[in-house]
C-alpha cells in the first residue's frame, strides 16, 4: 500500500511560485501520482496527474524524478484564491478497484 508524506502546511504570498513536495517511497510500478485541491466546505477537485518526468496543464505543473519516489506540485504565481488543502495521491488499485487513498494534505495559505 503506497503511502504519501507531505508537509502539513505552507505559507506564501501572492505572485510567488509554490512548490509542494510529496514523498511516496513505496510507489508501485503501475501507480500514477495525482494531486487534488480542496477548498473549505467543498469536495476535492482534481488538479493534475502524472506517471513520470513532467506534466503541465493550465493550472499547475507536476515534476516526477526518475525513481518516482517523490513528486512536486508547482503552482505558478499563486493568488489568494489558491488558499486550500492540496492532497497528493498515489494510485492504489486492489483487485482493480480505484481506492484513491488520501493522505493528510498540505494546507497552503496565500497572503497579500
Amino acid at each position: 500500500l503506497a503511502k504519501t508524506t507531505q508537509p502539513i502546511s505552507m505559507d506564501s504570498y501572492e505572485g510567488q511560485e509554490v512548490n509542494i513536495t510529496c514523498s511516496h517511497n513505496n510507489i508501485a510500478t503501475n501507480d500514477y501520482i495525482t494531486w487534488y485541491q480542496q477548498f473549505p466546505s467543498q469536495g476535492p477537485r482534481f488538479i493534475i496527474q502524472g506517471y513520470k518526468t513532467k506534466v503541465t496543464n493550465e493550472v499547475a505543473s507536476l515534476f516526477i524524478p526518475a525513481d518516482r519516489k517523490s513528486s512536486t506540485l508547482s503552482l505558478p504565481r499563486v493568488s489568494l484564491s489558491d488558499t486550500a488543502v492540496y492532497y497528493c495521491l498515489v494510485g492504489d488499485s486492489p483487485g482493480g478497484g480505484n481506492k484513491l487513498t488520501f493522505g493528510t494534505g498540505t494546507q497552503l495559505k496565500v497572503e497579500l
Binding site: D31, T34, Q42, G43, P44, Q49, G97, N98, T101, F102
Partner: protein
C-alpha cells in the same frame, strides 16, 4: 448542471435514528464512491461501486449500507446513528477503476446529537 450532486447538504439528527444520503452523477461514469471526512479533515474511502457492483468496502460498520439502483446513483443509508458518525460525507464518481480523475460532490455535513 451539477456533475455530482448530493442531498441533503446538511443533516442534523439524533442518536439512534436512521438516515439516508442520496448521490447522483450525470457524467456517465461507471464507478462511484463514498468518502468520510472527519473533524481533522482526514478523507477516508468507505465504499466503491463499479457498474452497480460493490468492489471496495473499507471496514465500515454494518450500520452503513450503500445501495446503487443504477450506475448514476449511489445512496448511503445509515442505521442507528452514533455521535462518532458526525462528519462530512462525500460522494464521488470516475470513469473506470484505475488511476482516473474522480469528481466529488459538495458533501453532506452530518451532525448527530
Amino acid at each position: 448542471d451539477t456533475a455530482v450532486s448530493q442531498t441533503p447538504k446538511y443533516l442534523v439528527t439524533q442518536m439512534g435514528n436512521d438516515k439516508s444520503i442520496k448521490c447522483e452523477q450525470n457524467l456517465g461514469h461507471d464507478t462511484m464512491y463514498w468518502y468520510k471526512q472527519d473533524s481533522k479533515k482526514f478523507l477516508k474511502i468507505m465504499f466503491s461501486y463499479n457498474n452497480k457492483e460493490l468492489i471496495i468496502n473499507e471496514t465500515v460498520p454494518n450500520r452503513f449500507s450503500p445501495k446503487s439502483p443504477d450506475k448514476a446513483h449511489l445512496n448511503l443509508h445509515i442505521n442507528s446513528l452514533e455521535l462518532g458518525d458526525s462528519a462530512v460525507y462525500f460522494c464521488a464518481s470516475s470513469h473506470g477503476q484505475v488511476n482516473t480523475e474522480a469528481f466529488f460532490g459538495q458533501g453532506t455535513r452530518l451532525t448527530v446529537v
